[in-house]
């Protein structure tokens, strides 16, 4: 078999593919495997014991709660932003798109820091909050704010290009046929963007449940109270409870794998690839 001019020889190709495979296995597969291996190192009962530990259960519940609040908030925001940006022209529109992406270039630690500066004991509103008896930092609201900040762009940045591609004529048609704004949105816009919306929400949720740096700053690490799953992983790891740490980590790794699987399915459906960051 001869090699086409614009292609590497078969031998080169095989070598490159093997190199890639080695790289992916060492860098991407082994970490996953080691998480599961460490979790079950002392057998399944030990792993299950971790999961029945009250602090671990609290951390799972807290992670779900934080995501259940943050993701819908950013979904409403993302749909709103995509609607006004893709359907109307107004001054400052380009700047708005750029600003929406801003949180992605901010370190997670800084994403948490900004809330401590605002609501912490020495923060701008710290004294006021303290007097009002409102606990933001070291409590659920702080965890939510930090999570909202880091997951802010996901839904908007998935929907904006999608809706810009679909021009407004279907929505205009609905209007000329007598639809109200809500009827147009629920019967025409939403069905047209549903896969993109699910995609954005999926990525948003994965990050919300897995966020570590930002919530580490605002959590205060109060065991059994303000520890989300990633924070619980850290605490158990630092206590040398490797089985415990890796068991919770396995749950998070499974979440990541499920996210990747659904993501791949949605990308096939959408015929495009979005970005996870």
């Amino acid at each position: 078999m001869t090699t086409p001019a614009a292609q590497e020889s078969v031998a080169t190709r095989v070598v490159l593919i093997l190199l890639t495979a080695a790289l992916l296995i060492i860098l991407l597969v082994l970490p996953l495997v080691v998480v599961l291996a460490e979790a079950f190192r002392k057998g399944i009962p030990a792993a299950l014991a971790t999961l029945s530990d009250p602090d671990s259960l609290t951390s799972i519940r807290l992670t779900l709660t934080v995501a259940a609040i943050s993701v819908p908030l950013n979904t409403v925001f993302g749909v709103s932003a995509a609607w006004c940006i893709s359907r109307f022209r107004f001054p400052g529109r380009g700047a708005l798109v750029t600003l929406i992406e801003l949180p992605f270039s901010v370190s997670p630690v800084i994403s948490g820091l900004v809330w401590v500066l605002l609501f912490g004991i020495n923060g701008w509103l710290g004294t006021f909050m303290d007097r009002a008896g409102l606990q933001i930092i070291f409590a659920l609201p702080g965890l939510v704010l930090a999570t909202v900040f880091v997951t802010f762009p996901f839904v908007a940045r998935t929907l904006i290009p999608l809706m810009q591609e679909q021009d407004a004529s279907e929505e205009e048609a609905a209007i000329t046929l007598g639809a109200t704004g809500w009827q147009m949105f629920s019967r025409v816009t939403l069905p047209n963007i549903r896969w993109g919306l699910i995609y954005g929400v999926l990525l948003c949720n994965a990050r919300a449940m897995g966020e570590f740096g930002a919530v580490a700053v605002v959590s205060g690490h109060i065991r059994g109270q303000t520890m989300t799953m990633p924070l619980q992983v850290e605490a158990l790891f630092n206590d040398y409870d490797w089985v415990g740490a890796f068991t919770i980590a396995s749950l998070l790794a499974l979440l990541a794998l499920a996210t990747l699987a659904v993501k791949a399915a949605l990308e096939w459906r959408l015929g495009r690839r979005g970005s996870m960051h």
């Binding site: 279907e170 205009e172 048609a173 609905a174 209007i175 000329t176 046929l177 007598g178 019967r187 047209n192």
Partner: protein
């Protein structure tokens, strides 16, 4: 319904999209808005539908002023250029949409909606396509669905934006005849926008020619063709030969053609004369027109001439007298129309 537009003006950045447009459409009329792209014809249609807004001017549809009336309350059927069918709904659901979204007290009963959809599908000649999705239809079928969907709400006025723009030439021809027919049957006041003069002339009762946001002329196809009101209309409606001339004392004279003297009401000074290639006659005597080539072309002959260095192409009946290549002759221009520059 009658439609009255008065002084509609709208700018799109620095250029006017609509420039003081006045237009009346009478009940049951089929009106074409004809113009090159960027002439403002689609803007006019969208302003009528309430999809865009004029900065000044008034619109009255069936005696009702449209100032402040949102698109969804205008009762105007709009057929979009790309059809804008709801891609996630079947054909039947698309057509029923405008009825199903009505508030309960105005909404027909479910079986009435079903019947209306069925009869519209039949009217469009696509009775068996109700269960299909838009992406399973051909262009011509989509066009019919879009039309049925717009008609389902029993609009007072039907607007069609380039209704055949996205179709191939053959389908376009059949659909033209069909749409004209349909209009004659249901008698709904309709306005369609097109850039294709043949389409406008063939289908419309009257044609409004637009250029740079203004209406240049509104007339029946025959009048429009016989008496174009401006050089733009003259040239837009078909091929025309452009000759420079000078108007003085009520006549136009041509620098290269001393014998042609054309009476005109055009104001004195430099002007241009437009004449269709088959309206030029030959005069059998030596003159300033030099014959470059002669090609037979069915019932007409295509004769290329040079007049004082300017080349023109004339169509002349195959049977009539024609000069031979290399010969010089004179030309008769009595059918030319003179327009100020």
């Amino acid at each position: 319904m009658n439609v009255e537009m008065r002084g509609l003006t709208k700018s799109f950045g620095p250029t006017p999209a609509l420039n003081a447009v006045d237009l009346s459409v009478s009940n049951g009329e089929f009106l074409a808005i004809l113009g090159p792209s960027g002439s403002g014809k689609t803007s006019l249609l969208r302003v009528l539908a309430g999809l865009e807004f004029a900065e000044s001017g008034t619109i009255v549809i069936g005696g009702r002023a449209m100032e402040g009336v949102p698109a969804r309350e205008r009762g105007v059927g709009f057929v979009f250029q790309n059809y804008a069918l709801f891609r996630h709904m079947t054909v039947a659901r698309n057509i029923a949409f405008g009825l199903e979204i009505r508030p309960r007290r105005l909404r027909p009963r479910a079986h009435e909606i079903r019947d209306r959809v069925a009869s519209l599908l039949d009217l469009m000649g696509i009775g068996d396509l109700g269960g299909r999705y838009p992406d399973q239809l051909s262009g011509g079928q989509r066009q019919r669905v879009a039309l049925a969907r717009a008609l389902a709400i029993e609009p007072a006025l039907l607007l069609l934006d380039e209704p055949f723009g996205a179709l191939d030439a053959k389908v376009r021809k059949t659909l033209r005849v069909w749409l004209k027919d349909l209009h004659d049957r249901i008698g709904l006041t309709s306005i369609f926008v097109t850039h294709d003069q043949a389409e406008a002339m063939e289908m419309a009762d009257r044609v409004a020619v637009m250029q740079a946001g203004r209406i240049e002329q509104v007339d029946t196809p025959d009048c429009l063709y016989a008496e174009p009101a401006s050089a733009f209309v003259h040239e837009f409606l078909g091929e025309a030969i452009r000759l420079d001339c000078l108007v003085a004392d009520g006549v136009a004279r041509f620098p290269g053609l001393p014998s042609a003297v054309l009476p005109t009401a055009c104001r004195p000074g430099a002007a241009i004369a437009l004449i269709r290639p088959y309206e030029i006659g030959f005069i059998v005597r030596p003159g300033p027109a030099h014959v470059v080539s002669v090609h037979a072309n069915g019932p007409l002959k295509r004769v290329r001439l040079l007049i004082g260095g300017v080349g023109i192409e004339v169509l002349s009946p195959a049977e009539g007298w024609t000069p031979v290549v290399g010969e010089n002759c004179d030309l008769e221009l009595s059918k030319a129309r003179v327009y100020p520059v």
